[in-house]
Symmetry: C2
Subunit: 246 residues, 2 copies
DNA sequence: CGCACACTTGAGTCGGCTCAACCCTCGTGG
DNA sequence: CCACGAGGGTTGAGCCGACTCAAGTGTGCG
């Protein structure tokens, strides 16, 4: 839990000090985040509560079972959200990208561990203050709820994936889904970045690292994708979609 | 509780007519449903919007992709919530019991099909009217959100289950989880009713019907459970918990 | 250069699936 | 009353896809 001690690395600061020239109003992630629901006035109110923080690669933001003293809005970078079984088996619940909100459920304790996959910047909101703001702004709560509802449909898709699909379908579907998510936040490109490692993908799809690797190389060999450093380039989106069978 | 068998379609009536002696105030499901968040006055307001309806076994309440013209509160019975893949593969997202709310996300269209497993009674709320009420009652929205958040953690548990557990763990975990849910709604007993068929369980756990059957008989043979008509009796809760490896 | 680390590739194994039979229980009609 | 069929559930034999175990291939970095 020393991860929230921000003394080392880049120190935290209230956004509204503005010395980094970064205000919520020109936040790159604003339009596809929770904050899009807010008026300019409310945005400033929110900004007063927020602190911008950064994480180094592999740094954990919070861990499973930690008291949820704060909630977060990802503004840049990616994190992996995982859960551990007592016997050491791991499952990756998902990946958080820019615009995603951590702590949607406003929980007492976190149910997952969040770890940075690369350099990450986020807005941190002290949980109590955020809760109070939400209680005072029904349309912010509504927005939060809509987001949670969206997460729920994603979770359903994921359950379908985990329960009923083959290894190849899982990998194809994962790549397609990630591509769509990047498109939503303005990174629309045939090249899909994979900031996470193969093990993370495997733990997300209920496979082993070897199987993920084999499926990727199979997709590569049949020219559906091209494996490039740090990601893949989608050569045949139609075929990828078809393999995902969604 | 088949007071009106003639309800092939929804032989609905406004609750507040009260001619069935059933008002929201003495609804058995009230305390563990959304409605627990409401004052007596608000409850009456909600009741004015509601229509009690009943479903016969196997009747579907709504289907995947249907326009969500209404949302529902289950007051009695159980439903299976499933999704179909284009190629016919099915996944059961979950089972709704008394107190559960269908349409938490207030969606435009339903993402699952809901079918009655036995006789079911529910409260039906026209979606527009319900949305309006929610918009007007922040603490009802909060309650809805908390419920959605809870669903989200259930979904996470389920993902972990689907991705990382063996057939025996899945079945044991399913029985344990169902038992806990029954306990929450006042059916605390060593005997766990299984209103759903083996195929539904299989589709819920990402297994085949044969494997579910085999695992149940294995648990039966080793005296962890006893298979009885319509359900199972848990003989060794400790062992069941241990197998679920939670 | 050499170590570390992430990833890939191969050979053999096994858990859960497929396919097929069989066993109940229940409802229906003769 | 029994005969019958249908549907749900169980059981067995064999197979296959993903896992395990183990070695090999980059690639970056001190």
């Amino acid at each position: 839990m020393s991860t929230l001690e921000l003394s080392h690395d880049h120190a935290a600061h209230p956004c509204h000090h503005g010395w980094q020239g970064e205000s919520c109003q020109d936040c790159k992630a604003r339009l596809f985040s929770i904050c899009a629901a807010l008026t300019i006035d409310e945005l400033e109110e929110l900004e007063a509560l927020s602190r911008q923080i950064t994480l180094a690669p592999r740094q954990t933001l919070f861990a499973q079972e930690d008291d949820a003293t704060a909630v977060y809005n990802v503004t840049e970078g990616a994190l992996v959200l995982s859960r551990l079984l007592p016997d050491g088996r791991r499952h990756v619940m998902g990946f958080a990208l820019a615009g995603d909100f951590l702590g949607l459920a406003l929980p007492e304790r976190f149910t997952v561990t969040a770890a940075a996959l690369g350099p990450v910047t986020l807005c941190r909101f002290e949980r109590g203050a955020f809760r109070a703001l939400v209680a005072d702004k029904p349309h912010l709560l509504l927005r939060l709820h809509e987001r949670a509802a969206y997460e729920l449909t994603l979770a359903q898709d994921q359950m379908m994936l985990l329960g009923r699909r083959t290894a190849e379908e899982k990998v194809a579907s994962f790549l397609g889904g990630l591509r769509r998510r990047y498109a939503r936040i303005g990174h629309d490109s045939a090249t899909v970045e994979l900031p996470m490692g193969r093990q993370d993908i495997a733990d997300h799809l209920g496979l082993t690292i070897e199987t993920v690797s084999r499926m990727l190389t199979r997709l590569d060999r049949e020219r559906t994708i091209l494996i490039v450093p740090g990601g893949v380039r989608v050569l045949d989106p139609g075929r990828l979609e078809h393999l995902a069978a969604g």
